[in-house]
């Protein structure tokens, strides 16, 4: 009996339990401010899932980087670059999507690896490196797109314009399965969660990521390949940013070089609200999944209740602080 209670108490103190409590709290708020019952409709939850998926994909990569005690500010720009590349390759260049997707993913992987290499080999601070990459990738996106949105309204070299058909891939990515209940983007997000979980808790590389974040010098002296591990983290984040970029392009049916501004901050907030700490060496993608849902519901509840944007921003800021304080718990 007491043993049972102790087990429960101990479980209640785990990060996952705390994150779940924060999520339940958010759901309770939703039930209270249910906007005349609309919070109880399935479609609201379905839409929420669809809306957070792109952010969630970024947050998965961000989790891996944050576990190494780093940060990746470039995710939003790589997302935009990937969206632009994908749109450009499939629309004006009319490549098949099956060919365009691997190319775009390679671009994301390459830029992420470059950030990782600068962090690992040049020993530059992740904040600075990825800040520079954020600016650089945004510029590259504008160069490729000529500063305009790339749509299916294509201008030929001779100045005439015509409309090309949107490739099927756009529709497929933006579609829903299971009777319209689960969107493909959400499936992609969940697949990213699964892949990240495998990386972090089932692969040797994952163990190295935690060790490098927990104590880099200790990891080095234990024979952990520090550089390779750091490069892997940023490359993975770059890859997932490209995945998110393709989803974004499909959802917007265009490649907008201005898209995704500020998404990196949402992704960081989701990771942190889940309970993964910025100091590194701790956390998990399961926590991030819960964090993504918590923020997703917060946004949904605010929009259902028609809160003005100013209020929404202020509340979001306040709730991030509360959630992190709650995660940290008392007495630590």
């Amino acid at each position: 009996m007491t043993a049972g209670r102790n087990t429960l108490q101990r479980w209640g103190a785990t990060p996952v339990a705390r994150a779940l409590l924060a999520l339940l709290f958010m759901l309770a708020i939703g039930c209270m401010f249910n906007a005349e019952g609309s919070f109880f409709r399935w479609s609201v939850h379905r839409d929420m899932l669809r809306q957070v998926s792109t952010f969630g994909i970024l947050a998965c990569g961000m989790t891996v980087v944050i576990i190494t005690a780093g940060i990746d500010l470039s995710v939003s720009s790589i997302l935009a670059l990937a969206a632009v590349c994908f749109a450009w390759l499939t629309l004006p260049a009319s490549w098949p999507a099956a060919l365009a997707i691997p190319v775009v993913l390679t671009v994301g992987l390459a830029l992420g690896s470059l950030s990782g290499a600068l962090v690992a080999r040049m020993r530059l601070q992740p904040f600075i490196v990825t800040l520079a990459m954020m600016v650089f990738a945004r510029g590259l996106a504008k160069v490729i797109s000529g500063g305009r949105k790339i749509t299916n309204y294509v201008t030929d070299p001779d100045g005439t314009a015509h409309v090309v058909d949107l490739p099927r891939a756009f529709g497929t990515i933006d579609s829903r399965v299971l009777g319209g209940n689960l969107s493909i983007v959400t499936i992609v997000f969940l697949a990213c969660v699964l892949a990240t979980w495998v990386l972090l808790s089932r692969l040797r590389a994952g163990r190295y990521l935690y060790a490098v974040g927990g104590n880099q010098e200790a990891a080095r002296l234990a024979g952990v390949p520090i550089r390779r591990t750091l490069i892997l983290a940023y490359a993975y984040s770059g890859l997932l940013s490209a995945v998110a970029g393709i989803c974004q392009a499909a959802q917007e049916t265009q490649g907008d070089p201005e898209t995704g501004m500020g998404y990196e901050l949402d992704a960081i907030a989701m990771v942190v609200i889940g309970g993964t700490t910025l100091s590194g060496g701790k956390g998990s993608v399961v926590l991030t999944l819960i964090g993504v849902l918590t923020i997703g519901y917060l946004q949904k509840i605010l929009s259902l209740n028609a809160a003005p944007e100013a209020t929404r921003l202020m509340l979001t800021g306040a709730i991030i602080i509360c959630a992190v304080l709650f995660q940290r718990g008392r007495g630590t």
């Binding site: 089932r202 927990g214 010098e217 234990a222 060496g281």
Partner: protein, 521 residues
């Protein structure tokens, strides 16, 4: 409880703690401890790690708010709820980890938080510097008040911290293992300052694991075991063997009785190791050291600060990168480790002397810390981990090393110092090493764990592992080494056999006075 009127005799304690109880969660770690410090005494607080010394000290330093019992300072009960209140009550702690700001000057540090200032609030640097000079003279510290703290050796920083405590009129100074990073001559000057403090009538609480220091310093010794005071005695009344019995509640085997002679097969043949100074390139910290390490032997490395012993081990482990050049043969094949990874692959493992900074990943579990250097062994294609095999192997090893853990999944930072050290040792053993480089394997751990580690070492040596051992505790060095290599300023000053080695010979060689005395080869 009404307080008795303060008595006016001079032997009134500076601090009296009565019936102190302290719990963390549901676990009580102090079960009603009484502890007093008189003016002008050095009161050594002894006990194994986990006995409750740190907790008791932290209560005095105002770190813990919630405890039961009574603390009186100067005869009156005081509530020391925050570190600031403790400082105001005249209690200063000289921490193992120093609390100076390295990027600020000596004077700025001395007056940090209590700057001397002029009429409009501007800092009066001239006055501060003048006063700092006086204080430094007082401490016999030959440094300029303008020097940056980061540029000072650790020993001077520590004395500076004492100076700072004195400028704040500290009546009680708490020293928590102050000598763990100091060399013999620095220890002597620290002890001289402690004697000065005693003469001024300050009370001193001194925590140490070094037997020798206890008997050099103590006026009284209080021994804690499992959160209870075993007793308080003067050093005369408490000989070392008895003290150890108080601490651990059992008798410890002294020294190492070796039966089998080391086999003659050479494992590691070091032709030359040279290490450059980290900032002054042309200076050499290790300068052409060579030696041979035989299978199943313990080679002790001795040397004072700056002798390059630790750097020698790090160079052999490939941890110094381009600073080091190593020419050596391991099992007859060339051995030039580029990085720790390549050393680990060849079966050469290093135990670092700073488990906090470069040994453990504190948030990782015991299992993950132990297996960190051997993950290749536990993973298959694509790096997929065989977690069950990993767990059972680690579990067997923790039992073998008698590591006491609440659970193999517990974060390693929740373990006591001795058990953390054993976790690190387990990490070094798991890849089945041929050569173990042990840099201060018993630093900052309790007597029981020390004995355990030396007993384990005997087993490894018997199993054919060769060990290079650095320890700053001379008794341990003499008892454990088959041969002792003494370094002086990066060069081999003497090589002593087990039979020939004495404390005096080692020290003389280390200080550069050997002139061939006792050197054999």
């Amino acid at each position: 409880m009404p307080q008795a009127a303060p008595r006016s005799t001079t032997t009134d304690p500076i601090v009296a703690m009565r019936a102190i109880r302290k719990s963390f969660g549901t676990v009580e770690v102090l079960h009603g401890v009484d502890f007093t410090v008189l003016p002008g005494e050095v009161h050594v607080l002894a006990g194994e790690n986990g006995a409750g010394k740190s907790t008791l000290i932290k209560i005095l330093a105002g770190v813990y708010d919630h405890f039961s019992g009574e603390v009186s300072v100067g005869g009156r009960p005081r509530r020391l709820a925050t570190p600031q209140e403790a400082v105001r009550a005249g209690i200063a702690t000289i921490h193992q980890e120093l609390s100076l700001v390295p990027t600020m000057s000596v004077a700025d540090n001395l007056f940090l938080g209590r700057e001397r200032h002029g009429r409009i609030g501007q800092v009066d640097f001239a006055a501060q510097e003048a006063e700092a000079t006086r204080i430094l003279d007082d401490m016999r510290l030959e440094i300029s008040p303008r020097q940056l703290v980061a540029e000072l050796p650790l020993s001077s920083q520590q004395l500076l911290e004492i100076a700072r405590a004195l400028t704040r009129d500290a009546q009680l100074l708490i020293f928590d293992e102050p000598t763990s990073a100091l060399q013999e001559h620095e220890i002597a000057s620290l002890f001289a300052r402690i004697h000065d403090l005693r003469r001024r009538g300050c009370g001193i609480v001194y925590i140490t694991h070094k037997m020798e220091e206890i008997y050099r310093l103590a006026d009284r010794i209080t021994v804690l075991r499992d959160g209870v005071v075993v007793g308080t005695a003067t050093p005369d009344a408490l000989p070392p063997a008895e003290l150890v019995r108080w601490m651990v509640g059992r008798q410890l085997a002294a020294g190492r009785e070796r039966v089998e002679a080391p086999s003659s097969e050479t494992v590691l043949e070091v032709a030359s190791v040279t290490v450059a100074h980290p900032t002054v390139r042309e200076r050499r910290v290790v300068d052409g050291v060579s030696f041979a390490l035989r299978q199943g032997e313990v080679l002790g490395l001795a040397g004072l600060q700056g002798a390059g012993t630790s750097e020698l081990l790090h160079a052999l482990f490939g941890a110094l990168g381009v600073r080091a050049s190593v020419r050596a043969r391991l099992n007859g094949e060339p051995f030039q480790p580029r990085d720790p990874r390549s050393a680990v692959e060849r079966g050469v493992l290093l135990l670092t002397n700073d488990r906090k900074a470069c040994g453990l990943a504190p948030d990782l579990s015991v299992t993950h810390n132990v297996s960190l250097a051997s993950l290749e062994r536990f993973s298959g294609a694509g790096g997929w981990l065989r977690r069950r095999e990993e767990r059972s192997t680690v579990s067997r090893l923790t039992e073998e090393l008698r590591i006491r853990v609440p659970s193999l999944d517990a974060p390693v930072q929740t373990l006591s110092g001795g058990n953390q050290q054993k976790v690190l040792l387990a990490r070094c053993l798991l890849p089945q090493p041929r050569v173990l480089l042990l840099d201060e394997p018993t630093r900052g751990i309790d007597v029981g764990a020390k004995a355990d580690i030396y007993e384990l070492m005997r087993g490894w040596v018997a199993a054919g592992i060769a060990i290079v051992l650095i320890t700053s505790e001379m008794e341990e060095l003499l008892a454990s080494s088959d041969r002792i290599l003494v370094l002086h300023r990066g060069r081999v000053a003497a090589e002593l056999t087990r039979a020939a080695a004495t404390r005096e010979l080692v020290l003389a060689a280390a200080m550069g006075h050997a002139s061939g005395a006792g050197a054999v080869s």
